[in-house]
Subunit: 194 residues, 2 copies
């Protein structure tokens, strides 16, 4: 998605430790006009399949998922990251290792909101090591729902998550796949670039 | 907002400890069509003021804020709840006591996304004790931005947050104000009801 790649090149900041900061438009401040274009593009890419629910994970997936959902005309469910008083009763749960936060956490989805008959599209902002997406896929499998695919805004192609998930048979559509980035020069190479 | 009140009466679940569960449409599973109506209503209520940014807090405020933002044509910033590797540099921060989670946490907003000249509308799903909203208001004040008002989907009118914030001079518009609810009968009375 050229608009997105251009924006990442313009406003993304490369930090040490393979960190790509896009918090001016994607995951801290959120450019809703860009999210609408992202929604249109996911709808185009997944136009051949039927989905009735979008599943994402708090926090930075939620805003994108809600705008994307408008183009599919479906509700969104977000997996929560820690047990609160307000999630009572039966939940699907799995453990996820976070490289960004440097810890293991539980994700959970109430059983009443996911189950057999659901056709689920996963949406998230980033795919790097793929642990969050694997967790979401595990929750979908547990629920008996069908995992139709995963729509990712930015994939770090030099980290193993995307390739592993595709090898597992999951349809992953990433709108920008970063093949390499150079902290010194600020240059970014995307998959598909000449 | 009658549509919202009807939905709360239909799908809300009253639990012990003054908990109103609306996770089937508001803050776990999210009904995006309802969010669009919420967005229109906030735009109607705040049609007399100029805003250029919406500020919310993770996680359950984000989805609503993003849809509401479409009606104001502004970006959204969400306050983060814990320091991660990816928030580096200068942030506005304040402490917030959470009754739901039973702990104190830090919220933070990167300084580059909020500052003098910004006219800010706060958006959140719930207002009860008002601690999260107070924290957001403190962040706006610290930043030098103007706090135009706060748009809340559900206010618990029997808890002190809303009245305290209004007494502090903050314009709070709540789409449904629950005056009382009865766990045994499941009945809910809203402010403004006969």
């Amino acid at each position: 998605m050229q608009l997105l790649k251009d924006r990442i090149r313009k406003d993304g900041k490369i930090k040490s430790g393979d960190v790509l900061k896009v918090d001016s438009f994607l995951n801290h401040q959120m450019d809703i006009k860009l999210f609408e274009e992202i929604g249109k593009e996911f709808k185009r890419r997944f136009s051949d399949v039927s989905i009735n629910k979008i599943l994402t994970i708090e926090a930075s997936g939620i805003g994108i998922a809600c705008i994307v959902a408008q183009y599919f005309d479906v509700p969104v469910v977000f997996a929560k990251k820690s047990k609160t008083k307000n999630i009572a009763g039966d939940v699907y749960t799995t453990k996820v290792e976070s490289f960004t936060h440097g810890k293991v956490y539980d994700i959970m989805v109430a059983k009443e909101f996911l189950g057999a008959g659901d056709k689920v599209l996963l949406i998230d902002d980033f795919l790097a090591n793929g642990k969050a997406l694997e967790g979401l896929a595990a929750v979908v499998k547990d629920s008996g729902a069908e995992l139709v695919g995963a729509g990712i805004v930015i994939e770090k192609g030099f980290q193993p998550g995307g390739d592993r998930l595709r090898a597992d048979g999951i349809r992953v559509e990433s709108l920008a796949i970063v093949e390499s980035m150079d902290e010194k020069t600020g240059s970014i190479r995307f998959r598909g670039d000449e």
